[in-house]
Symmetry: C2
Subunit: 274 residues, 2 copies
């Protein structure tokens, strides 16, 4: 059995080899979306270049990934440039290239965290436990969705909500989600899960239209200690859109541990054709 | 009377001169914060470099600005690099330098918009009109605040809320805000207003602690036509924090026209010492 066969598909999909100033990777069929790879795996791969960079200091605090063009199936190159290193924070530019053209741009902020007085204002949604919730069949969905166990409590996309063929009143989704097969959570899988909501417009409109995330931002509230404690349990993911307007809609979301700890907040802006 | 004397202080503060590949500007005392300039004026200045770049195509859709180090009073240099230009979108890297060190990093996405079916899910808050609201005295505040008329409906910072010396239950702020002297809104002033909330921790805790925005993201729902219609009227700005944890808190916000049109959504992640 080769090393690759023993690795989790997520680790294979985000795997990079470093060659002095650049990292080299390859898209993974297992994380394909309708066109090109799932945006969450791409974001995780760019963050992985930062985390594996020899000059990296601290853990991720903030990440923004901009999808400038579709990623083609095949090899890609990532450049992660430490733009500024301070005593306790570090700022990065990140670029993904294919055939010498930039396909993805991004920035990341890393920091050394200290424990402080903390307070959570957001409320953990009232939901049945993951164990008491029914797993969504992803058989007819793009391959990336097969790598997750998704249990939607509210806000099913498209025709999955048979009881409501009208446009629904809002685009809120609450779902339990975890890697399948199970995998202990780290900053990379948390990043991907921030992008693993079905597009808000499919919750709202119940019909397919072309869409594409333009920009994704993740704020990491969790440190590595909290992620270790999270392990491979399901997280509760909550998202909504505030407005669909002239070809773009927003999405904001929260990712919670089952014990009610807020692990990440996230936002994205998405192009749609309607 | 010189040209500068006739210009609005906002236009003076964000003014740039281009020298082939770089833009040169200078901090403005009028937009000073406690340490260095107000983050909103810095973000607007980086966006201005993109907008004034000869290769610019389309209007701003998404902007992320990362504050890597304090901006020092004095001159600065901005490089805006078009990373990828597509038929209807354009992706940018932006950097602000002082003394050859990177101080700010950022990315922007521009697009040519089309009118589509639109829908707003967020609700315009129930508030008195700007005309019926009382202007906050900013006399004891840093100079940037003197350039705004701010009328706080809910969520006063610090000791300003005399009726409540305990920590308040949440950190929501709703405020009317407009440039003072008046100025017709554009993408630059909208960007600055996205950062013109007093820090959430001052609303929540009623005491001063050192803070600094790490990363700011703005999604522009408005196109230039909507901004022209907005003119110099006050906008309603609504913000909250979801969690304060181990030295960082998030803020999400919405900027509304008085007619209830959502002009922008915004998020930021902020360092605090407590």
């Amino acid at each position: 059995m080769s090393l690759t066969e023993r690795q989790h598909p997520f680790d294979v999909a985000t795997q990079l080899t470093r060659n002095s100033e650049t990292f080299h990777g390859h898209t993974s069929e297992k994380y394909n979306n309708m066109v090109g790879p799932f945006g969450g795996i791409t974001a995780a791969t760019l963050l992985r270049a930062v985390i594996e960079h020899p000059e990296r200091q601290g853990d991720p605090v903030s990440l923004t990934i901009n999808y400038a063009a579709p990623v083609s199936d095949g090899p890609f190159t990532i450049k992660a440039n430490p733009a500024r290193t301070n005593r306790s924070t570090q700022h990065w530019f990140i670029e993904l290239y294919q055939k010498e053209k930039i396909v993805i741009t991004g920035t990341a902020v890393l920091a050394s965290r200290r424990h402080t007085l903390s307070s959570t204002e957001a409320l953990f949604p009232e939901v049945p436990s993951a164990a008491d919730s029914k797993r969504l069949s992803t058989d007819d969905m793009p391959s990336w969705a097969q790598n997750y166990s998704i249990k939607i409590i509210e806000g099913l996309p498209l025709q999955l909500s048979q009881t409501n063929t009208e446009e629904t009143a809002d685009s809120v989704t609450i779902q339990w989600i975890q890697d399948e097969p199970r995998r202990s959570m780290d900053f990379l899988s948390l990043t991907a899960i921030c992008d693993a909501f079905f597009p808000r417009i499919y919750v709202r409109r119940k019909e397919m239209v072309p869409i594409g995330t333009v920009s994704l931002t993740v704020y990491f509230h969790a440190d590595s200690e909290m992620l270790t404690h999270q392990g491979d349990k399901a997280v509760l993911a909550h998202a909504r859109a505030l407005q669909f307007h002239d070809g773009f809609f927003d999405q904001t979301g929260e990712i919670w541990s089952p014990e009610g700890k807020l692990l990440a907040t996230t936002s994205q802006f998405v192009y749609y054709k309607a």
